[in-house]
């Protein structure tokens, strides 16, 4: 068991994660890796109340997630690990060296970002970070929901106008 999905999603915990992925994966725990959330009791309570009672939630900043990753990976229950940005996932990938794949689930429009898919917008620096994650031997695909096709990073970066 352990972590079945490593996802980057700027909405962190929301319907698509809890229901869309959580149900088919039968996820029983969630690891929310975010430096800001991990430092705020109010934010933690906000997200704690968003998960169903059968799902346990752990909060960690990136350093703590690297330190405790082996514990999450050895958990007998299926779980989901989520970061809100590419940089946090890149730090995690570097620190853990045991992550085989990363799912791009939602990186939405902000100033400086360019549309790549309906739910993926990236700055040049973020594209570079994703290349670096892939170069570390990690499969990077975009897939918002389980029923969608997992789109390889190379195809994502070409955008939808090709």
């Amino acid at each position: 068991m352990g972590i079945h999905l490593y996802r980057i999603d700027d909405r962190l915990i929301h319907g698509q994660v809890v229901v869309g992925w959580g149900q088919p994966l039968n996820a029983r725990f969630m690891v929310l890796v975010d430096d800001l959330v991990a430092s705020s009791d109010w934010e933690k309570e906000l997200y704690r109340m968003a998960v169903p009672p059968e799902m346990e939630i752990f909060f960690a900043d990136v350093d703590a997630a690297i330190r405790d990753h082996a514990k999450y990976a050895a958990d007998p229950r299926p779980g989901i690990l989520i970061t809100g940005d590419i940089g946090s996932m890149q730090r995690l990938v570097k620190g853990v060296k045991a992550i085989g794949s990363v799912n791009l689930g939602g990186i939405h429009h902000r100033a400086g970002r360019v549309a790549k898919k309906r739910y993926i917008f990236l700055t040049p620096d973020e594209e570079k970070q994703l290349h670096e994650i892939e170069s570390a031997g990690v499969e990077v695909t975009a897939q918002d929901v389980p029923s969608a096709r997992a789109v390889p990073l190379s195809e994502v970066l070409e955008g939808e106008s090709r």
Binding site: L12, H14, G15, L46, Y47, A50, R118
Partner: protein
């Protein structure tokens, strides 16, 4: 009558926000059943960041004077955004898990402030869920 913001006969009384076309569909159904869709403001959150959702709800609250927010899923981005707003603005009421029965009860209940009507409507909405068959 009451003087609470959003209580006026011409004012929208609540914001409805949810995944996909959920909010629009639900409010459309309210309009079809009782012609009171104008009492509700629809907000779609498709393709929006959490910050955009939050600012969108705040803008609609400020524009309309509504003091009630209805959302679909407790775990949804809209609900999380609304909870941040409710924390900042005491006097707002958030109802998550909204259904058609909830909204119908809410729009008809004009004898009390919208926030009170929302609490009563939530109870009606819960009671409207029935299971038939074995």
């Amino acid at each position: 009558m009451n003087d609470e913001p959003g209580s006026g006969p011409q004012n929208p009384r609540a914001i409805v926000v949810g995944h996909g076309d959920f909010a629009g569909g639900l409010v459309s159904a309210v309009g079809q059943i009782c012609g009171m869709a104008d009492k509700l403001v629809v907000l779609s959150m498709m393709g929006m960041t959490p910050e955009d959702i939050e600012s969108g709800i705040r803008e609609q609250l400020a524009r309309t004077g509504a003091r009630v927010i209805f959302t679909d899923l407790p775990a949804g981005s809209a609900t999380l955004a609304a909870r941040r707003i409710v924390r900042d603005e005491p006097g707002l009421v958030l109802v998550s898990g909204v259904n058609l029965a909830t909204l119908l009860d809410f729009v008809f209940n004009t004898s009390v402030p919208p926030t009170e009507a929302a609490r009563a409507a939530a109870e009606r909405g819960k009671a409207s869920l029935i299971v038939v068959g074995r």
